[in-house]
């Protein structure tokens, strides 16, 4: 029954895809019972996926814990290199996948009432399912190119969910910050994937050692891919601003799943590449800085969700340290506990007023000079924009706005022409 594991792992992915398609159809067709249909499809789809993954994990454990290939699709093949989409299930993927479907499932159940009567109800579910698909691909990916597909999906759905209430100007601005951070991450991962593929003959078997320039660039690219996703310093300005979206999406993304994607990338690519020593020490340094700064930043936040966001960031920093020191199992256990805890905390963030902690007492008065300095640093860095008029991002934004204007005119002309000929 070696085929048990891949069958159920693939079934999970197909369940998500199927649910996604049905939801998209439901949104397109409309109808009065649409809301109920969509939330039911999402919940049951995730339930099926979750059950499948549990069975697959059980099978994996019972049958000796051998990584098994789940699916393999050849995208393109040149003379010496090929690009394959490969999914495989192993001991690292199992916990991540189970947690993914659990948290997404709870978010889907949560959102049935929470998003009820909201104009974007269907859109929300579509994006969450797309995210679940993206996470599944990332977790099951067997090479970096496959991982990139899922990585993009995660980034896209993230940005779209942050800008869920797009009528508000501030929301759109904050969503853009997150989007730019994700673009940096996506681009780095893409470059790393391409370089790895080019480097490897056949593109499948991982080559443990990289030499020369590649040995420096590829790890840096991986770092640049992991850091913005996991909101590590200095790419952390977007995280508190990501709390613009609805609570359930904030919870599963920035408490549970998306923010740990960087961690997963490190864990997984550690199996494909042997990281040089300087890489591990850099990880530790980044982790220490993020954990420390994040901790103080969390202590100066005056809103609950912001405080939880920074706490999340600081814990992921600790996980980076664990990876840097080679404690991979510890990192996974840390991830499991942290993602569940943080998701629950963000989901019930609004209970702080009536059911939460006691008022007064426990507030540390930052009176001494050192403490006041620390407060200032934490406060100002936590609200920093990440951008400014001279940043690369601003320049790119201006270029894209200009292009956008040209495009809008072009589209308007085409539209008018089409409208005219239709009559």
């Amino acid at each position: 029954m070696i085929t048990l594991v891949p069958f159920f792992a693939l079934a999970a992915v197909w369940a998500i895809v199927g649910a996604l398609v049905l939801i998209a159809l439901a949104i397109f067709c409309g109808g009065t019972r649409r809301e109920q249909f969509i939330s039911n499809i999402a919940r049951y789809g995730l339930l099926i996926a979750w059950t499948s993954v549990l069975i697959a994990s059980a099978g994996y454990l019972i049958f000796g814990g051998v990584p098994t290939e789940v699916a393999s699709v050849m995208l393109c093949s040149l003379s010496h290199h090929s690009l394959q989409v490969q999914l495989s299930f192993d001991g690292l993927a199992a916990p991540f996948l189970v947690i993914t479907y659990s948290l997404c499932g709870i978010a889907a159940a949560f959102s049935r009432d929470y998003l009820h009567r909201d104009r974007g109800h269907g859109r929300f579910y579509l994006l969450v399912m797309l995210f679940a698909l993206g996470m599944s691909i990332v977790v099951l990916a067997r090479n970096m190119a496959t991982m990139y597909i899922g990585w993009e999906l995660i980034g896209l759905t993230s940005a779209l969910l942050i800008s869920f209430f797009h009528e508000r100007g501030a929301t759109r601005e904050n969503a853009l910050r997150a989007f730019w951070a994700y673009r940096l991450s996506d681009t780095s991962l893409l470059l790393a994937a391409l370089m790895l593929t080019m480097h490897q003959e056949g593109g499948i078997s991982p080559n443990p050692s990289l030499d020369g320039l590649r040995g420096i660039i590829i790890p840096i690219l991986i770092l640049l891919a992991a850091m913005p996703k996991s909101a590590q310093v200095p790419f952390s300005a977007w995280l508190p601003r990501a709390m613009e979206g609805p609570t359930p999406s904030s919870a599963i993304f920035y408490g549970g799943l998306s923010v740990h994607a960087g961690l997963y990338l490190l864990l997984r690519s550690g199996e494909w590449i042997t990281f040089p020593v300087w890489f591990n020490s850099t990880l530790c340094v980044i982790g220490i800085v993020s954990a420390g700064l994040g901790s103080i930043q969390a202590s100066v936040q005056t809103d609950i969700k912001g405080s939880l966001a920074f706490a999340s960031m600081s814990q992921v920093g600790l996980m980076f340290i664990e990876v840097g020191c080679g404690f991979y199992r510890v990192a996974v256990i840390h991830f499991i506990g942290h993602s569940v805890l943080r998701t629950y905390q963000i989901l019930s963030a609004n209970s702080a007023l009536h059911e939460g902690r006691t008022r007064h007492g426990g507030q540390f008065a930052a009176d001494s000079r050192v403490a006041a300095l620390a407060y200032r640093v934490a406060f100002l860095t936590s609200i920093r924009d990440g951008l400014g008029p001279y940043s690369l991002v601003s320049i790119l934004e201006r270029v894209s706005t200009h292009l956008g204007r040209c495009e809008a005119q072009f589209t308007a002309t085409i539209g008018r022409w089409a409208g005219r000929t239709r009559r």
């Binding site: 809301e35 109920q36 709870i106 159940a109 949560f110 049935r112 009432d113 929470y114 009820h116 009567r117 869920f164 209430f165 501030a170 904050n174 508190p240 709390m243 609570t247 359930p248 969390a298 100066v300 005056t302 809103d303 609950i304 969700k305 912001g306 405080s307 939880l308 706490a311 814990q315 840390h334 506990g337 569940v340 998701t343 629950y344 905390q345 989901l347 963030a349 609004n350 209970s351 702080a352 009536h354 059911e355 939460g356 902690r357 008022r359 507030q363 540390f364 008065a365 930052a366 403490a371 407060y375 200032r376 640093v377 406060f379 100002l380 920093r384 400014g388 008029p389 001279y390 201006r398």
Partner: protein
């Protein structure tokens, strides 16, 4: 002319005092008190106040025209209402002489203006409606244009008789290529030419196109006639500066008043806002945000100076003429009115956040000064910074072009409604067109919305009067020997509960009174803390204390200790999980959080049961006592304000007697008299207190009901009452109870002290109440999606689950749909289905010749109910400016309120999820009283009189002797309401009415199953 600094200062302070009246007065969110959002405008008439406020706050004054038009199409507003409203707005149209014909015409014209007002306000959207949406091919399906059809028939004959040459000549009359002519206009002309070239042209389409061209020509003339409206055309740099600095200012403000979210306090907040902010933004450190680079030096200049002087300096630096100061300061202050309002509250009321270490002196002025400096600095930086990313917020076309096309489109639609084709339009004489243009000009958007709103309210008002009169006509006399008398709060949610109780039989009688039952106490609960449980305008002097019963001392101690440990450890865990090391430890155990997360989302009812079991099976009330009495002889000075422990028997008798007289229950007592206080429960809901009893100051009315019952059962109190004329027989037992309006759960207090003789009645009561609450849950469930229909037990289980779910933003709908208040004997409204929209106050005018009871009732009821009504009104009319927006991105800030998303102004008012089913209409109060008594009562209440005269609430008097209803217009009685043949439908029971219907229902009479 230069003024001395002294008078400048006092002038400035006056300005600040004036503009601070516009700030919201919502305190910390853990106690939500409904009040009139526009309380600063109460000195104006309602309509005037609403419109003034709209311009001050940049909000909507009424609902959108479009929604009123939809209401008209849907039948919610009919022609009669519209006509009445037009006449109300322009009384000059009602004239009794020969100009009647032209006035009818004028009313028709105005009606057409209202119905045809388009929602498209820019040229692009107008052309979209015309070209893409078929505006030139047919008219909107919903509005029937019968006149147009008639005209088209005539037109058809004429056009088809014309030759081709005649047709193109005919066309040329209509085309005037004006200076704003563009491709879309050309397109219309081309199409029209092609249509006319056909041998048998489609006359409707031709006529519509020609009408459009004619409308354009006329609109040009109209637009040139109008004066340009002053738009709020904020400078782009100014707007960008505001948007960029908003997170900074709001986060600083939040840190200043933080009451427990952050682990670290803002440094130096004891020394004032200016000092604290300059401490954070000091120097030229690279950490200071780029758009306020260098603001630190300007702020340090403020430190140590008198804030008023500093403010004056700022105004002078901005180069502003002194007569513009007030306007500028008002705009700056109201930019972040939520936080500014909270700061103002901190400054003026010391009971708000009593333990906060933040300094309160001159707080509002400091806030104003700091925010003005920060914004000014941002403006300077953005202006000097050539590459600053300032996104323009322009409109697609010029303002005047948009107005032109809007007018043309309006005229286009208007002609269709009135049945005026282009041919007729061009033949109109100039004076007729001038009159039409001036009509259009005088009936601009605000006025149209106002008339629509009056029609909207007028329709509702008529239905209420009809329902009330039907209720009076069918009023049944209750059974001569009542078995149960049930006293509840006047709350509109209790209306359905009382209705179901009364349906059990005529031996059940209910009363409504303010939910604190006259028991104004400061209550010290055994869990700790003291809070007032009475209306906010009363400062309670009497303290009652909860303490454990002797035999249950250990149990109570254990449970309290457990509760305290639980809270403390949860707080520690929560706080600790945010630090690095603590978080790591918490993550080890973190997986356990999966259980409550799963349970509270998917199985809320079960998780509620489990929490209950963990906390302790019986509620704490059953094992505790309340100490509420003071020994005889300690007679308190009536006029001092010092606090007293409990009540003396004389005071108790005063309260018990006062309440009983007020509701008219002075004889014929039933064996059991129950008082139900009410409150609400929900999880993960910052607005929980908004569902509690308003009469108890935003708290549940448990202790009030309990204490009243204890007082009324005492022999010494009954003796005193007998002496004053209220003879309560020994067989009558008073019982205190609690109705949770979210979960529809009922509990009773002190059931062990029910005498044996009343035991049987109590059992019967339990059964009745249980059935009533089931039906109540069923009726409530019709509003909820995913709630079971038809099954009462399932409905009860459903509403219980709603209160325990962390995912439910609508645990109940609270006061949503509230619209009516009836003050009078219950049997006059008994049996009428008011759809949970009415406050019901029991009042017996026959025992109140001096109108003293009416005075007390009006003094309490009018402000409280009006506050609730207007809070819901404004939060639903404009949920973004007056209300708190959607709950979905809400984030608790500083433990005092909520913000939206990452950073925003402190949100005040009600969230969208609480007002989404609310229909914004003013409160209709029907008072059963003779005019003289009413006038006497109002004479003693100048504030209430003012509110009624300025129509913030609408009042009608029902004369119990004449049996006629007199609506008050601006506080004056004019004529009796003529109900003509208005019929109120009758149904057998609610089930047929409410089954599978979730919207607002008509008011009907319900045949009660009579048991004699």
């Amino acid at each position: 002319m230069t003024l001395s600094t002294g008078s400048n200062r006092s002038g400035l302070r006056d300005i600040i005092n004036r503009i601070s009246h516009y700030l919201p007065t919502q305190g910390p969110l853990d106690v939500f008190v409904h009040h009139n959002t526009l309380h600063a405008f109460e000195e104006y008439h309602f309509l005037e106040g609403v419109e003034k406020a709209a311009s001050v706050y940049g909000a909507r004054a009424y609902q959108s025209e479009f929604s009123y038009q939809r209401s008209f199409i849907g039948g919610r507003i009919n022609d009669h209402d519209l006509r009445e409203a037009i006449l109300l707005d322009q009384p000059s149209l009602v004239r009794q002489n020969e100009e009647v014909a032209s006035d009818e015409c004028a009313i028709e014209d105005i009606r057409a203006i209202l119905l045809s007002a388009p929602e498209h306000t820019t040229r692009e959207s107008v052309f979209w409606a015309l070209l893409e949406h078929g505006g030139l091919d047919h008219h909107p399906a919903e509005l029937a244009f019968p006149r147009w059809e008639g005209e088209i028939a005539r037109e058809r004959a004429i056009v088809r008789a014309m030759s081709l040459a005649e047709r193109s000549e005919y066309l040329d009359q209509y085309i005037e290529r004006h200076e704003y002519w563009n491709k879309d206009d050309e397109l219309v002309v081309e199409e029209l030419t092609k249509l006319l070239e056909r041998p048998v042209p489609d006359v409707n389409r031709t006529a519509l196109r020609m009408l459009w061209l004619a409308s354009m020509t006329d609109a040009l003339r109209m637009v040139r006639l109008e004066t340009r409206l002053d738009g709020m055309n904020a400078d782009t740099v100014d707007r960008a500066a505001r948007e960029l600095t908003m997170p900074l200012i709001t986060k600083l403000a939040a840190a200043y008043v933080d009451d427990g979210v952050a682990g670290w306090q803002l440094p130096r907040r004891k020394e004032g806002f200016v000092v604290a902010v300059s401490e954070v933004l000091q120097g030229h450190s690279p950490l200071v945000p780029w758009f306020v680079r260098g603001v630190g030096s300007r702020l340090t200049r403020l430190v140590g100076r008198d804030p008023l002087d500093a403010l004056e300096d700022i105004l002078r630096e901005e180069d502003l003429a002194q007569d513009r100061w007030e306007e500028v300061l008002q705009r700056e202050l109201l930019e972040l009115k939520g936080w500014a309002g909270f700061f103002h509250l901190l400054e003026t009321r010391h009971e708000v956040l009593p333990t906060s270490s933040a300094s309160r002196e001159d707080l509002l002025i400091q806030f104003l000064a700091v925010s003005m400096i920060i914004r000014a600095r941002a403006r300077d930086v953005l202006r000097d910074e050539p590459r600053a990313q300032i996104r323009p917020h322009g409109v697609d076309s010029d303002d005047i072009v948009n107005r032109l096309y809007y007018r043309a489109f309006h005229l286009f639609r208007w002609c269709q409604v009135r049945g005026v084709t282009a041919r007729t339009l061009v033949t109109w004489p100039a004076w007729r067109k001038e009159r039409l243009f001036s009509l259009f000009a005088s009936w601009e958007v605000r006025r149209r919305e106002r008339v629509w709103h009056l029609a909207f309210e007028g329709n509702f008002e008529r239905r209420v009067y009809h329902a009330f009169l039907a209720g009076v006509k069918h009023s049944a006399r209750p059974a001569s020997i009542p078995h149960f008398q049930i006293i509840t709060c006047i709350d509109d949610r209790e209306e359905s509960f009382r209705r179901y109780l009364e349906e059990m039989g005529r031996h059940v009688v209910t009363f409504g009174t303010a939910g604190f039952f006259g028991v104004d106490v400061a209550y010290q609960s055994i869990e700790g803390g003291e809070a007032p449980f009475c209306p906010v305008v009363i400062r309670p002097r009497h303290v009652v204390v909860e303490r454990a019963k002797d035999q249950h001392l250990s149990v109570v101690d254990r449970r309290l200790a457990f509760g305290r440990t639980l809270i403390r450890s949860r707080g520690m865990f929560d706080r600790g999980s945010r630090s690095a090391m603590g978080g790591a430890l918490a993550s080890l155990l973190g997986g356990i959080a999966f259980v409550p997360m799963l349970m509270r989302t998917l199985f809320p009812r079960l998780s509620g049961r489990i929490s209950g079991i963990i906390a302790g099976r019986e509620p704490l009330d059953t094992v505790t006592d309340i100490v509420y009495e003071r020994e005889e002889g300690c007679q308190a000075d009536e006029f001092s304000t010092e606090r007293l422990m409990g009540f003396s028997p004389v005071e108790m008798a005063q309260r018990v007697g006062g309440l009983l007289r007020s509701i008219g229950l002075v004889n014929n007592f039933a064996p059991i008299v129950v008082l139900f206080g009410h409150g609400s429960s929900s999880r993960n809901n910052p607005f929980r207190s908004a569902y509690d009893c308003g009469a108890c100051g935003g708290r549940p009315g448990r202790v009030n009901a309990r204490v009243f019952a204890l007082m009324a059962n005492r022999q010494d109190v009954r003796r005193l009452l007998r002496e004053s004329g209220i003879d309560i027989p020994d067989s009558t037992h008073f019982l205190g109870g609690y109705h949770d309006t979210s979960s529809d759960s009922i509990s009773y207090f002190d059931t062990d002290s029910i005498p044996a003789a009343s035991g049987q009645f109590f059992e019967e009561l339990r059964f009745l109440v249980d059935e009533a609450r089931r039906r109540n849950a069923r009726e409530r469930c019709r509003r909820f999606a995913y709630a079971p229909h038809d099954d009462r037990d399932a409905a009860l289980a459903h509403v219980e689950g709603r209160t325990q779910s962390i995912a439910e933003p609508r645990p109940e709908y609270g006061h949503a749909t509230n619209a009516i208040a009836i003050i009078g004997p219950r049997n006059h409204s008994r049996g009428v289905f008011f759809d949970r929209r009415s406050f019901l106050v029991s009042y017996e005018p026959s025992v109140d010749p001096e109108a003293s009871i009416l005075t007390a009732i009006l003094a309490a009821v009018v402000p409280v109910c009006m506050g609730i009504n207007l809070e819901y009104f404004f939060s639903s009319v404009d949920n973004e400016v007056y209300g708190a927006g959607s709950k979905l991105p809400m984030n608790i800030a500083s433990l005092v309120g909520v913000i939206t998303g990452f950073a925003s102004d402190l949100r005040t008012g009600l969230p969208a999820q609480m007002v989404e089913i609310h229909e914004p209409v003013r409160l209709n109060i029907i008072i059963e009283s003779r005019l003289e008594q009413f006038e006497a009562a109002l004479g003693r209440l100048p504030v209430v009189r003012g509110l009624i005269e300025r129509e913030w609430v609408k009042v009608a008097l029902y004369d119990p002797v004449d049996h006629r209803l007199f609506p008050l217009i601006r506080g004056r009685v004019s004529s009796a309401y003529d109900a003509f043949e208005a019929l109120v439908p009758e149904v057998h029971d609610e089930e047929s009415l409410i089954s599978h219907r979730s919207g607002n229902l008509p008011f009907v009479s319900v045949h009660q199953s009579m048991e004699d």
